[in-house]
């Protein structure tokens, strides 16, 4: 890269950091990249850090010493997250979303890149200080949420399949009871998809009793993995507390009531906002 003026360097460094979240970049690497003294780089980073933190873009963590450098950690302030989530809840309450069985049609919303980026950033903020090696979800609707979170945390995603596909090699399968069908179903994960002893964050789009998530946890047990956290986009509040299979999870929205006659639902911000 040719030598840049400070103003241009600030633009380039900003994009360099933003596209490499949760990645430690040494001062030396920056100094080489921009053919500049480390002292100038440090001044640039101080400016970027201030803007990122004042404007709620993320944290710029500085590590001192020989192995030191900077790491950009995206976050979203809770006040900003709550504003966005309230708008999402209003959309989820649109009457034509109520489907038979008390489900909500939200596939269209899970197709919007902007919403996904926001939700991914919320999950990344909620789980940013946990040790996580990999994010797990089950096909299909949780997949975009898992990837949006993974992009912020810079960790890989594994997708649990609802059947055992030929193109994945040997796999581990378990049975579980899904709350939606009340029937025994199968989910499986390729043996090579997950290293043993991994710390795994589970992300899914919707949770009622928690049967599907419990299934993923059972599967993780087979891989000797640890559950680092559970995040769901929408939880159903229409579940008796004693029915719920898990307690330790974060929800971003909560479906508190569905009136099948009027096709009216009530959706409020989830437990993440009521700590």
């Amino acid at each position: 890269m040719k030598k840049l003026k400070r103003s241009s360097r600030l633009v380039e460094m900003t994009q360099y950091l933003l596209t490499r979240p949760h990645t430690l970049i040494s001062l030396t690497a920056f100094a080489d990249r921009y053919q500049s003294a480390k002292s100038s780089i440090s001044e640039d980073l101080a400016i970027i850090k201030e803007v990122f933190e004042e404007e709620g873009i993320g944290e710029l963590q500085t590590l001192a010493g020989a192995a030191g450098g900077v790491k950009y950690m995206p976050f979203m302030r809770e006040s900003a997250a709550l504003d966005i989530m309230k708008k999402i809840c209003l959309k989820l309450e649109q009457p034509d979303r109520v489907l038979p069985g008390g489900y909500l049609y939200m596939t269209d919303m899970l197709g919007q890149p902007e919403l996904l980026a926001d939700v991914g950033r919320m999950f990344a903020t909620a789980f940013s200080h946990r040790k996580i090696d990999v994010i797990m979800t089950v096909e299909t609707k949780g997949i975009p949420l898992a990837y949006a979170t993974a992009a912020c945390l810079n960790i890989p995603v594994v997708i649990v399949r609802r059947d055992n596909k030929v193109t994945e090699g040997s796999a581990v399968s378990i049975n579980y009871v899904s709350g939606s069908t009340k029937r025994i179903q199968t989910m499986s994960l390729a043996r090579r998809a997950l290293k043993e002893q991994s710390h795994v964050l589970i992300i899914d789009d919707f949770m009622k009793v928690g049967g599907t998530i419990q299934g993923m946890m059972d599967l993780l047990y087979e891989f000797k993995a640890t559950v680092a956290g559970v995040g769901v986009f929408v939880e159903s509040g229409e579940v008796e507390l004693e029915e719920r299979l898990l307690e330790d999870y974060i929800s971003l929205a909560k479906l508190t009531a569905v009136d099948m006659k009027t096709k009216q639902s009530t959706v409020i911000p989830g437990n993440y906002f009521h700590k």
Copy 2:
């Protein structure tokens, strides 16, 4: 937002643009956001534009006039894309990836946020000047590629299901013959997932004869939609030309040979790099 110094403003504007690809932002909006004169904003944008274009980050399109403003369009130079793709091809050639039936295990690679961001940017570059309303893929492995592309182009994704889920409402189903199983299979899309007359970019992870993609095209016909393009991550070259069901597609990599005895495969950059 409080008034920022020029250096801080450049950092903030850079992140603002990067997180809003393919979105027109008016000079007035920027002037209000930063409480600065339009002339200062224009100078800032000129600096950002130069860096983005010199460093191959993207194009900063400037639209003059009352409805004018700037639009950031991510791209990747073909030379940079080819360098990255060559490394991806080497990974795809690892011997333990060859699966029964001449398939390649690449689920792990499709779980890596960095690779996905690169590949999404390549597809976005390849299709950036076409009119596209929505990106379509079929579950499961094409999904992360579709979202990575959608994030760059700022357009929504629809996912075709391999069965008809209860939680999606009324759906259109079609039958197709998948090259991998040679059996008749079903794919379906919720009626409300796609507006009629949409321009649709099809993205998938792997193409052999093209049966699955042909199925998606048949489904699009039912929605009176137009195919704006087809992009596949890896195409199999082990197909007779007359067998291939479609001609107009972009591939990023091509699997030219699989030796089942030695479990050795050969993967080269795809037709995108041989125009």
